[in-house]
Amino acid sequence: MAFMTDRKRANGMGSAKEGTHHFWSMTVSSIALAILMPLFIFNFGPMLDESYADVQAHFAHPYPAILTGLTLIVAFMHFKMGAQTMIEDYVKGGARKITIIAVSLLSYAAMATGLFALASIAL
């Protein structure tokens, strides 16, 4: 440590040159969700307590199917990135990486499961 030069210590610690990418992705997805979520709540919400047959008929229509699919994709991407920011604030070291990976995998899995279910209802 004592023999390390200042240059050596600073090397590799600099800007990753993509610092604004995460911020910009959150901005874009937040605007998408600001449009999607009100539509989704009023289209999807009432279905939670409908009969099996009514649910099948509902998601067979293009508008509810596309709206639900879009919401699943954008919401879970937005969640994945937002949760990452929280983890980076509160978790340190190796645990940080593991937690970020776990949350990312969970987000992808939930997204894929939702899309599969939606496709099998709709088609």
Binding site: A10, T27, I41, Y52, F59, F79, F116
Partner: protein, 127 residues
Amino acid sequence: MADVNRGKRPLSPHLTIYRPQLTSMTSIFTRITGNAMLLAALMIVWWLLAAATGPGYYDLARTVITSWFGSLIMILSLWALWYHFCAGLRHLYWDTGRGFEIKQAERLGIMVIAGSFILTVLTLILI
């Protein structure tokens, strides 16, 4: 050089030293609501999967999600969603470089809180 006082530099005052303020509280609730919605999101994915599986499994998911406990999670998450929605709009407004004066920031905070409850009640009435 860079080794001077390494590891024992003075720290600026942090969270523990401040009295809770409208701005800081509405900020942390943006994070809490955003992350807490994961539970409702996973329940909705499960509900969709059940609806894709068959009538028997669907009835189970429907019963769980409309039980008192399921409804509690859904209604709290509905509020969380509207809160996060309003707080997100506030962030987009801040991103344009406006609304940072203390009076404006506090007014925005009140608008976020009021908006979240109004929108939640409105949604529950309309759905």
